[in-house]
């Protein structure tokens, strides 16, 4: 573990989960970045590299704004994918930059104001012309509808039950309540789930992620340097990124069987292989639960459970804190907040530092974080150092 190429996450920061914030997205992002630097015991001028996503941040909180506001002189600047996969795959680039000496301290941030923005996440897909022309006029115009279609097909193929979908939602709400501070402080029972309003069959309100205003950030440096900093370093032991050749227009309807999250298998194999670990070594998983169904599929596609069996896996309690593979220990995008997964990274770091609180996974030493922005997939393996 003294590989000179090793890097660590040394600081994390996030704003409180909120549906609507009275702060705008730039304020939230700067707050989160400063919190992450403060956590690491670093100053903005210590940062010399930034990695963002390629689509969302460049148009809302571009890295020149962050650098200019905070006084960061960059000598490394990169971007990968967009949204969820980006947030998780960013350490892949940071590790290369730090190992090659092109940067010493790399900042990753992500902020979102889809809680207050009128079209929220739905308007985002207007960047795809074929969706606008061939889908939207029929009312195929929002992510819950796409994944409703996916869930129905998976149910047909593998016999997934509504109760199993509900089990995932109930488990994650339990995690959010154990952690505290999440966007929905209310308990959720299986009965509550079964009576919740339908959004796009078979998906009900609790099957769909929250919508939030907020930001998060994390800071990386070499493991060697990390040892002298304020907080216990959390080592990046493996990174993975994979995409499949399909356009953003086609990805929700064409090509695949609609029961597989593109790239998840290859990205996970890459990250776990690089880390030299097997699925059994993973103490917890923070994965992109934009919907109950997409969360279930990723657990399978990354190899944590055989295809077709994840419904029973969740219903049997394996994904609960205390189970064989606790999943989304903070309640995830379904019950904590929806900042496209930056909160998954900060949560994994808290777990591996042993400072998660009421939702701490006992003896957590290795955690995996994964994120999607279909057709891209990112996987990050982290370890307590």
């Amino acid at each position: 573990m003294t590989d000179p190429a090793s890097i660590a996450i040394v600081g994390i920061g996030e704003t409180p989960p909120a549906r609507r914030s009275d702060k705008d997205v730039r304020t939230l992002t700067i707050d989160a970045v400063l919190a992450a630097l403060d956590d690491a015991g670093l100053r903005p001028c210590d940062v010399d590299g930034i990695v963002t996503d390629t689509v969302v941040m460049p148009t809302s909180v571009p890295r020149d704004y962050v650098a200019g506001q905070l006084g960061i002189s960059l000598r490394y600047d990169a971007a990968v994918s967009y949204g969820g996969a980006s947030i998780v795959a960013a350490p892949m680039l940071a590790a290369q930059a730090i190992a090659s000496g092109r940067a010493s301290t790399v900042l990753v941030y992500f902020g979102i104001d889809w809680g207050t923005r009128a079209s929220g996440p739905y308007g985002f897909h207007d960047i795809y012309p074929a969706k606008l022309e061939y889908e939207k006029p029929y009312g195929f115009n929002a992510q819950p509808i796409y994944f409703g279609l996916w869930a129905r097909r998976y149910m047909h193929e593998y016999g997934l039950t509504p109760r199993q979908l509900g089990s995932l939602c109930v488990t994650q709400r339990e995690h959010a309540l154990l952690k505290g501070g999440g966007q929905i402080p209310k308990p959720l029972s299986l009965d509550d789930y079964a009576n919740a309003p339908m959004i796009s069959e078979p998906l009900r309100v609790p099957d769909c992620c929250l919508i939030s205003d907020g930001a998060g950030a994390y800071v990386m440096t070499s493991l060697e340097r990390a040892k002298d900093l304020a907080r216990p370093p959390v080592q990046v032991i493996g990174t993975g990124f994979a995409s499949v050749p399909t356009t953003g227009d086609a990805v929700f309807t064409q090509g695949s069987d609609l029961m597989t999250i593109p790239g998840a298998d290859r990205a996970a194999a890459q990250a776990l292989g690089e880390a030299g670990i097997t699925h059994r070594d993973v103490d917890f998983l923070e994965t992109y639960d934009c919907f109950s169904i997409s969360c279930l599929l990723q657990i399978e596609d990354m190899g944590f459970c055989p295809k077709g069996e994840v419904g029973a896996f969740v219903e049997e309690g394996h994904t609960r804190i205390g189970g064989t593979l606790p999943v989304n220990t903070h309640g995830g995008l379904l019950s904590y907040s929806y900042r496209l997964g930056i909160e998954h990274v900060t949560e994994a770091v808290r777990q591996l530092r042993g400072e998660a609180g009421g939702n701490q996974v006992a003896a957590a030493e290795v955690g995996v974080v994964s994120g999607l922005s279909i057709p891209d997939y990112g996987v990050l393996a982290l370890a307590k150092h």
């Binding site: 606008l132 009312g139 819950p144 129905r152 097909r153 796009s200 064409q254």
Partner: protein
């Protein structure tokens, strides 16, 4: 309704033949003769051999239900039918490799099942789209036809 008013304004030049054919009550999809393969959505080149020589081939319209969802929440006041409505994802035995998003009409939700046979209806319906009209295409069960 005149032929010209069927379908929205095309965002890409290669998208337009679908609506021109639909106005004549035909379903057509991009097809590469040398590969003998369809693709969807329309691309500039055949995704299998990269030729620009893409034809549009008419198909019968006989469809099978790959999956569906009944939408109960209105996400966008400016697009889509009134809720609840049925979104169907269709496959076509004579155009393998293509799935089409459409609406299902004249069907009881309890009858819906994966694989059920459907046929197109070219009757224009009022409803908001980018161009102010609903595309003149929906599907209904083939049974009893």
């Amino acid at each position: 309704m005149s032929e010209a008013s069927v379908g929205p304004v095309s965002y890409q030049k290669e998208f337009a033949p679908f609506w021109r054919e639909l106005a004549k009550h035909h379903l057509s999809f991009p097809y590469c003769a040398s590969c003998d393969k369809f693709h969807w959505y329309p691309l500039k080149r055949c995704p299998f051999c990269l030729t620009e020589a893409i034809e549009w081939a008419r198909i019968s319209g006989d469809a099978q239900l790959y999956s569906w969802t009944i939408v109960h929440h209105r996400f966008d006041p400016d697009s889509g039918p009134d809720v609840p409505y049925i979104i169907a994802l269709l496959e076509f035995p004579d155009a393998p490799g293509i799935r089409l998003v459409s609406n299902l009409l004249e069907v009881d939700a309890a009858e819906l099942e994966v694989g059920m046979a459907l046929v197109p209806s070219f009757k224009p319906r009022p409803g908001p789209t980018e161009a102010g009209t609903h595309p003149g295409l929906s599907f209904r069960p083939a049974i009893g036809r």
